[in-house]
Subunit: 161 residues, 2 copies
């Protein structure tokens, strides 16, 4: 077919978009999400780990010198705290959805409450609302005590087929 | 003095907090901000670069396999776009402030407008307001054209002595 000429490598890759959703479907069926995480380079870059506790999921960002923003304090950079919380929200939603579509983040609002020290950071998410088209997720991050969060955020996701 | 016993290595480091501000003051005086950037491990982790264009600053996140969130599309992870924009906002403010205090981010709100493809990403910031205590910075990120941003965000910073 002559119109195949206009398929660039990029658009060819996009047409295989089902691939990630296959990985997601498999993870949702088996309950084993580590392979999904292994498929996300940014998760490996910052060193994200998780632990399932029933329906809850505890996300964990281990202390990592590469995530430092202020080397003198030393403090974790706000950008990595935000990135960790965004990634946690996406993963939490994928782990708790009953469909295997890739959620697309619409917006993200983050309030910093305390300095993020150079130590392990944890995050937990709650799906406040999951409609057929939009989901609303809240995220809290803490270091020493869950009751003293270092940041709180919320995100909206578009759920498309 | 006996009360020195309770100084942990962490608190000892915090007492040297002036160090980063010294680096910042030097950068502001010389107009040479690369040494400041070299002091921020998270900037090196994601590969942030910048270019000064008069008072404007163009921030640049080169295409990097480690920043991928969806390997099938492939698309940059929202978390790294957010982190890049947060870091750009902090740096832009530090480059344009007339004092050498380290701005502390209070909050960050991000709207995703288009998918971030696996290619170079750029960001520009504007300081909407800089009071004595709070600064308000807007950030736009784009890939192909400045007029088609992939994300737009704003941040508040606390300016303390």
């Amino acid at each position: 077919m002559s119109d195949q000429k206009i398929v660039t490598p990029d658009t060819a890759v996009i047409q295989q978009n089902g691939g990630f959703e296959d990985v997601l479907r498999e993870a949702q069926q088996s309950g084993e999400f580590q392979p999904l995480l292994d498929n996300i380079p940014y998760a490996n870059l910052i060193g994200l780990k998780f632990q399932r506790l029933g329906n809850d999921v505890l996300f964990h960002l281990p202390k990592n010198d590469d995530n430092i923003g202020n080397p003198i304090l030393p403090a974790i950079h706000g950008g990595v705290i935000g990135g960790f919380m965004e990634l946690s929200a996406s993963l939490h939603l994928m782990m708790n959805m009953d469909c295997a579509t890739l959620p697309k983040m619409i917006d993200f609002s983050l309030d910093y409450l305390r300095a993020g020290r150079h130590q392990d950071t944890y995050a937990e998410c709650q799906v406040w609302r999951q409609g057929t088209r939009v989901a609303n997720v809240a995220i809290n991050a803490w270091q020493t005590e869950r009751s003293s969060p270092i940041a709180t955020a919320r995100a909206h996701f578009l759920l498309t087929k």
